[in-house]
């Protein structure tokens, strides 16, 4: 055992609207804190090196890969995971569109895909096709269901336009 050991720290943040505090190591991955300490297992681990986007979450409104965020830097942050995307009992338009249009297959990339799409729509409520492709370009789907995923986001945009 190394003689010098970091002590666990207390990290306080707001996750899906609820204030939480956990004890963890400073460089613990936010991904692991969410899944193992806060039991929010909707966020998935794909590659663990920031390539695949499966662990994408929102941190202070920005899309980030939670496998690359050390717990210490989550102090004071407002975090949204896939568990916080639906509002009360009703699904977000993107979630509904993924169900209707077959946007999910094995499901591992789905939480990250949905967070990326929801974040894109928050920044660009009426994205064109190129913006949608760009918004999803950081998320890999190993089932290769890209067209269905793309069509789901297009459908979510259309649904929002119809309601407006």
């Amino acid at each position: 055992m190394p003689a010098e050991r970091a002590r666990k720290i207390r990290v306080s943040c707001v996750v899906n609207g609820a204030a939480v505090t956990c004890e963890t190591y400073p460089l613990a991955r936010l991904l692991d804190v969410l899944r193992e300490d806060l039991k929010l297992t909707g966020t998935k681990e794909g590659c663990g090196e920031g390539e695949c986007g499966a662990c994408a979450i929102e941190m202070d409104g920005a899309l980030v890969n939670s496998c690359l965020v050390p717990a210490l830097q989550a102090e004071g942050a407002k975090i949204r995971t896939i568990e916080g995307v639906a509002c009360g009992g009703s699904l977000h338009a993107v979630q509904q569109a993924f169900i209707t249009h077959g946007g999910a297959q094995c499901g591992v990339c789905t939480p990250g895909m949905i967070l990326a799409a929801v974040n894109l729509l928050a920044r660009h409520p009426r994205p064109d096709d190129a913006q949608i492709r760009d918004g999803l370009s950081g998320n890999l789907c190993r089932c290769t269901g890209y067209m269905k995923i793309f069509e789901s986001v297009v459908a979510a945009v259309r649904a929002a336009e119809t309601r407006a």
Binding site: P26, L27, E49, G50, G53, L63, L68, V69
Partner: protein, 289 residues
């Protein structure tokens, strides 16, 4: 193998002065940790040898983009996303914006910083060729004071740089272009369109006056142990007419002699050499247009 987490320490200094004091008190003991997009990858792979970090992510003194009549100064913690959103950068420094847009994914662009990209010192990084073309200056601070260095002389070898223990990159300063006639060219060649690591990255700018090349600056990534300015090719081109087959061949040969691309997991030296020549030709077409 994954890292042993209890072996790693990280503290959050209250301001820049406190961070610099902490670093000065134990030279080499504490290193800066910004957005984590490189360091967390090494950590997860069990390849992060250094154990003590200062979390600089929240230091306001390292943030923000300041514009004066002469310069644009980017705080070291400026993210790729912030670079892309900035109107003056988009208008006057398109190479940097293109590099930022083609580095990693949106999620990486929200966390990755220019200072981190520089200090990580990868020869495959995409913002350095743009910074070299713009003849950027780097402001470096320590508890002892501040100094400025031309970015072109900052990287001294593979993963080696002109940055001492106790020093931090504070900002990157770009001189605003005086001529609207500057033609700018950027091309990153990777395996796929989104979030690839470069096989080769080419950034260049130039200006033609009275039919002759009056100003030309060319920099490349992933073709040498450091990001490289193609000074010999530039010398050949300066003062010449941009459309000239013999000149192009001579400039391509000069470029070929100053780059030293290698075979690695992403590409081969031969391919990189070939593409470097082609990109030079494409840049000259843009310059002549």
């Amino acid at each position: 193998m994954r890292a042993f987490l209890p072996a790693y320490e990280m503290e959050t200094p209250r301001d820049l002065a406190a961070a610099l004091e902490r670093m000065a008190g134990e030279p080499g003991g504490w290193r800066a940790f910004a957005g984590g997009t490189d360091l967390m990858v090494l950590l997860e792979a069990g390849k992060l040898p250094h154990k003590k970090y200062l979390n600089i992510w929240n230091l306001e003194e390292l943030r923000g983009i300041a514009v004066t009549a002469e310069h644009v100064t980017l705080g070291a913690l400026t993210t790729y996303a912030e670079v892309q959103r900035h109107e003056i950068l988009a208008r006057e420094f398109p190479l940097l914006c293109r590099a930022a847009a083609e580095t990693g994914s949106a999620a990486t662009q929200n966390r990755g910083t220019l200072g981190g990209n520089i200090a990580n010192a990868s020869p495959a990084a995409d913002s350095p060729p743009a910074l070299i073309v713009y003849e950027a200056e780097i402001e470096i601070v320590s508890a002892a004071g501040a100094r400025c260095v031309p970015y072109a002389s900052f990287h001294t070898g593979y993963k080696k740089m002109n940055l001492q223990a106790g020093e931090l990159i504070r900002s990157i300063r770009l001189a605003r272009p005086r001529s609207a006639a500057l033609k700018q060219y950027f091309r990153k060649v990777g395996t796929r369109r989104a979030q690839a690591i470069s096989k080769i990255c080419f950034a260049a700018a130039g200006r033609v006056e009275a039919g002759r090349i009056a100003d030309v600056r060319i920099a490349l990534g992933s073709v040498a142990p450091t990001v490289l300015r193609a000074v010999r090719a530039e010398e050949l081109l300066r003062g010449q007419r941009p459309v000239d087959a013999a000149l192009l061949l001579a400039a391509q040969d000069a470029l070929g002699a100053e780059i030293a691309p290698i075979d690695d997991m992403r590409s081969t030296g031969r391919y990189r050499r070939h593409v470097a020549r082609n990109l030079l030709a494409e840049f000259l077409e843009v310059l002549a247009s």
